[in-house]
């Protein structure tokens, strides 16, 4: 029973990370209708920035964290304005290929700048466990869950209560009407990309302490994030978070209790989730079913 509880908690922690990255993907998809295949590499890049700040420039953790988020935000806006904006209104395949080009570019750039060597990234949370009702829960897991919850809450508050947040929501679904009330839609979309980059950075920084940093660190996480986003509904922010948590716990339990899956088939399991959801209920758990006439 204790083991089960531990698996659930650690599942929630990894699920929180999946949910954060999934939220980034949903954010961009809602705003620009694009699936950003480079979201994982952007997150890894942000993590490298934090690593450089702490290792080579003597920053302590939380200031490095803050600077990384800022740089990631600017980077996200910049990427949107530079390479996405010119093509976002044309055929989907062009934008997909651009994000794939970004994926390659960023991955290669990271190898170029920092080499493929595996790096250790410090964790802001002390190692060790605390006792919760007789079960040993890792502090790292609790800290991860907390950070994810806080960032999701802050984002939610931004969208619900601020003028800019409202404008972004309007620009995402009704860009033409948003322009008529004076919203500068292209900049709103850029803002969306910036926020998504911040979410990705958070996901990367939370992942690195346990799996170590290398250019391919977030590739698997990206697939889990896709699965979470699809499960929750590709246009639903709530769905992304819930989907992430469900997936994290589900994969953990699946891996522990079904030997065949173990640790080796987590990725294929996530792939299966993607395929099954897209075929059975493409709108996901929280999405609105779309009627496609053919």
């Amino acid at each position: 029973m204790a083991a089960f509880f531990q698996q659930v908690v650690s599942g929630l922690a990894s699920g929180g990370v999946y949910g954060s990255l999934a939220l980034a993907i949903v954010l961009i998809h809602r705003a620009t209708g694009v699936i950003n295949f480079a979201q994982g590499e952007m997150a890894t890049f942000s993590t490298y920035i934090a690593w450089t700040l702490t290792t080579n420039h003597g920053f302590s953790y939380w200031p490095a964290f803050a600077v990384t988020l800022l740089v990631s935000f600017v980077g996200g806006v910049g990427i949107h304005q530079a390479v996405i904006r010119p093509v976002e209104r044309g055929p989907q395949i062009r934008v997909v290929i651009i994000t794939i080009g970004l994926l390659l570019l960023l991955n290669g750039l990271m190898t170029w700048i920092w080499s493929g060597e595996v790096r250790a990234v410090p964790s802001p949370f002390p190692s060790g466990t605390i006792d919760v009702g007789g079960v040993a829960i890792s502090v790292q897991d609790i800290g991860t869950i907390a950070v994810c919850l806080v960032s999701v809450a802050v984002l939610w508050a931004f969208f619900q209560f601020t003028k800019v947040g409202l404008a972004l929501r309007a620009a995402a679904v009704n860009p033409a009407e948003a322009r008529l009330v004076g919203v500068r839609v292209p900049w709103m979309l850029g803002l969306g990309w910036g926020l998504a980059a911040v979410l990705g950075a958070i996901a990367g920084l939370l992942t690195a302490p346990s799996v170590f940093l290398d250019p391919n660190m977030m590739q698997a996480v990206l697939i889990y994030a896709f699965a979470a986003a699809v499960l929750g509904g590709i246009d639903s922010p709530v769905g992304a978070v819930v989907g992430g948590l469900m997936l994290g716990v589900g994969l953990n339990l699946l891996g522990v209790y079904i030997d065949f899956v173990g640790a080796d088939l987590r990725l294929p399991a996530a792939l299966l989730v993607i395929l099954v959801v897209l075929l059975v209920r493409p709108a996901g758990l929280f999405g609105k079913p779309q009627v496609k006439k053919v």
Binding site: V87, V96, I98, I100, L103, F226, L265, L267, I274
Partner: protein, 333 residues
């Protein structure tokens, strides 16, 4: 025969003659590189049918290459089948896998298909490792133990010519590529080709013309997977070794890159695409020794291509020929 057909035929003949006489002018090493160009060309012909003509994005065709490659490797290493004989078998196995995947995939479109196929590419190495007994797990299958099945130890004799390994590989790859080119051309100019294009241009219109979307898409997947399987088989023969890392995610992405560079929908640019896939990493390496350089160059070129050139390399060629053509009805002033 129409002018376009004559032009295509001439182009094909020129291509075939060039391909077959090239080794005489190239060093052994270069010939081997061009073998790989032939191999990528096979895969790209299939990708072109799926993405260029039918408009379906696949980021996972490396998985079908893996299926073909492993089929060949396992048949050669465990069952003593001669290399060239494994190729049709690899084609069939990969083709069937393509059809099986195509059935559910036909219901996905655009971004979601790209997403699903991307996940397949990422998940494939894990699946390969899992079924160790069959696939040799992480250590893979190596063919060093069976040199007699290829031309590596004993040269192959064909019509009185003796071919060492590199030349054997070269002619094998290019023969498969040219045959594949012809087959694709025949498929695409018939009703099937028109059905493919109809699905790409407008699914609604295609359905109202009586075309079955599912059948067309499944067919496109099956055919493209078969081509990828053939390429994978050749790849395995070439590298004499397969393991889960022989067919990484990057390969699937490079295949898509190759098709985009070649200009979606046109057979002429595919050679350019294949050359690009083979030689770009080498060129990038000469710019910078870092192992990250090829990916950076790929990425930059891909982005620039999409931003600047909607038609890819073939589009550029088409535009150029339009500019230099003299119109008989309106003489130059």
């Amino acid at each position: 025969m129409s002018r376009a057909t004559v032009r295509t035929l001439l182009l094909f003949v020129v291509l075939a003659v060039t391909a077959f006489s090239l080794p005489a002018f190239l060093s052994d090493f270069r010939a081997q590189q061009f073998s790989y160009v032939g191999i990528y060309l096979v895969a790209l012909i299939g990708m072109n049918i799926l993405t260029g003509y039918t408009g379906q994005i696949s980021l996972g065709h490396g998985a079908f290459m893996a299926i073909g490659g492993y089929t060949t490797a396992i048949l050669m290493a465990d069952h003593g089948v001669k290399d060239i004989v494994t190729i049709p078998l690899a084609i069939i196995v990969a083709g069937v896998a393509g059809v099986l995947f195509g059935l559910p995939a036909a219901r996905l479109s655009g971004l979601y298909l790209a997403l699903a196929t991307f996940a397949i590419a990422v998940a494939t190495p894990a699946v390969i490792k899992k079924f160790e007994g069959f696939t040799g797990g992480g250590s893979g299958v190596n063919l060093f133990g069976t040199p007699e099945l290829t031309a590596s130890l004993t040269p192959v004799r064909i019509i009185g010519f003796e071919l060492n390994f590199n030349n054997w590989l070269y002619y094998l790859s290019w023969t498969v590529a040219l045959i594949g080119y012809v087959i694709a051309w025949l498929i695409l100019r018939g009703r099937t080709g028109r059905a493919f294009r109809a699905v790409r241009d407008s699914e609604t219109a295609a359905v109202s013309s009586g075309i079955s979307l599912t059948r067309t898409k499944v067919l496109a997947f099956g055919i493209s997977a078969a081509y990828a399987g053939a390429a994978g088989a050749l790849f395995a023969i070439a590298t004499t070794f397969v393991n889960p890392d022989t067919f990484p995610v990057a390969l699937s992405i490079f295949l898509l890159v190759g098709v985009v560079v070649s200009g979606l929908g046109s057979l002429t640019g595919l050679i350019v695409g294949a050359v690009f896939i083979q030689f770009m990493p080498l060129w990038a390496q000469s710019v910078s020794k870092s192992p990250g350089a090829p990916a950076v160059v790929y990425g930059v070129i891909l982005i620039l291509l999409i931003l600047a050139l909607p038609g890819g390399a073939a589009g550029l060629i088409a535009r150029f020929s339009q500019l230099t053509r003299r119109d008989r009805n309106f003489p130059k002033p």
